[in-house]
Symmetry: C2
Subunit: 246 residues, 2 copies
Amino acid sequence: MHAVTAIHPAAAAAKFAVTCSSCNLRELCLPAGLSADELERVENVVYARRRVARGESVFKAGSEFNAIYAVRSGFFKTSLIDGDGREQVTGFFMGGELLGMDGIDGSYHGTAIALEDSEVCIMPYALIEEMSRDIPALQRRLYAVLAREIARDHGVMMLLGSMRAEERLATFLLNLSRRFVRRGYSATEFHLRMTREEIGSYLGLKLETVSRLFSAFQKDGLIEVQQKYVRIRDIAGVERVLAARH
Amino acid sequence: MHAVTAIHPAAAAAKFAVTCSSCNLRELCLPAGLSADELERVENVVYARRRVARGESVFKAGSEFNAIYAVRSGFFKTSLIDGDGREQVTGFFMGGELLGMDGIDGSYHGTAIALEDSEVCIMPYALIEEMSRDIPALQRRLYAVLAREIARDHGVMMLLGSMRAEERLATFLLNLSRRFVRRGYSATEFHLRMTREEIGSYLGLKLETVSRLFSAFQKDGLIEVQQKYVRIRDIAGVERVLAARH
DNA sequence: CGCAGGGTTGAGCGCTCTCAATATAAGTGG
DNA sequence: CCACTTATATTGAGAGCGCTCAACCCTGCG
């Protein structure tokens, strides 16, 4: 069992600064408007961290659901394997984002795999659930996080259902850029953690098509690309790829 | 405000039978293992119904979130409209299914439109949220419903990302069939409520392609189709379209 | 009856895939 | 440190699936 012991408020705040904030639990904690006391309790939820080596899984599709994971550092993909062994990448996740929420109804629906050596915070669901009953702000937050995941998926459905290949890649690059920025990294220069094949799976394209598009974007002066290194030279230009629909 | 007045248990059960069960709230109520007393409270959440005429919307993208809706009768589509006015259908919903959960973080993300004269049960979110704190089973249920929506969307992502046109249509038909059966309708014979264009949008295909595929399935003896009427003549054959991946 | 919305079908094009060869990186073990 | 292996990327040529454009048909309804 997990014991919630009394901690001095200042100590709680300090501990939060170490554990929750450095776990980058922004999705769950930051905008929730929790009191210091509530923060302490939430912070206690993160009762363990776990290193996940590149290529290892955090959880596998079908295995029993018992925790949500917050990415503390590193980079992950989530994917489904279909009956014929075909993989569909359903998302990429970086620091501060949550993994495993699709498992709340019993077992994980997909598999989460680290694309580089990473670390996650383990948040046992039983504790979260219990606590969310006492802390309305946390409950609202949890629902909101789930709802936002649905909204994100709908965005991907729109991408897959109605965009042409170059629009998909442009959307992908802009999305990555925005997320890197929010984490204090460069908006225009980054290393891709995933392979062309994984990008292709996510975007509903073949890896050769992805590769060709990178080359085409480079030829058009939109980006500079060399294997996994990408520099966006003309963000407005990349955005224009989306604007010029049809 | 909504007043929870004391009701005799038997009366509560009767009222539940009328309101909740006939609202087909199976997603939320049925497998939750609620006590009679809890059922009464949940049933009180459905404080109003609303008729939605064909073509009308239940809620619109961007409007303020205040309720989840359960389909009582009829048929709905949800869709996103992108900047250029392009529509992406994100789902079809029939009796007993829930609409509007993607709005929990403030405002509805998509628009829900009735494809035939329909009726929904209005479940004010403030009440649900409050109640889910008192009734753990309901809370778990709500999370599960949200999680299942995410899983559903991942399934659609797989469909859009990795299936060929005929596989998509086969998947669509089998999914509809399964859902009709669960509601006591025929598994093999039904009227489509949506247009070819809406099916196409959902499946990431053009309406002409959808039409051609229906014709092709008919020629192969898999189905019989005449405008919106569909009869599946060879379910195993339709399933084989999926099995024979490339 | 005429109109409008939805559905079907055809012809041809083009985007993306398939197949294949080559190039580049990143390990691995001697 | 260097050959060797393996994973990942790039690029080309050609094919085919699904799209575009267009004509026609069906059905319901005022």
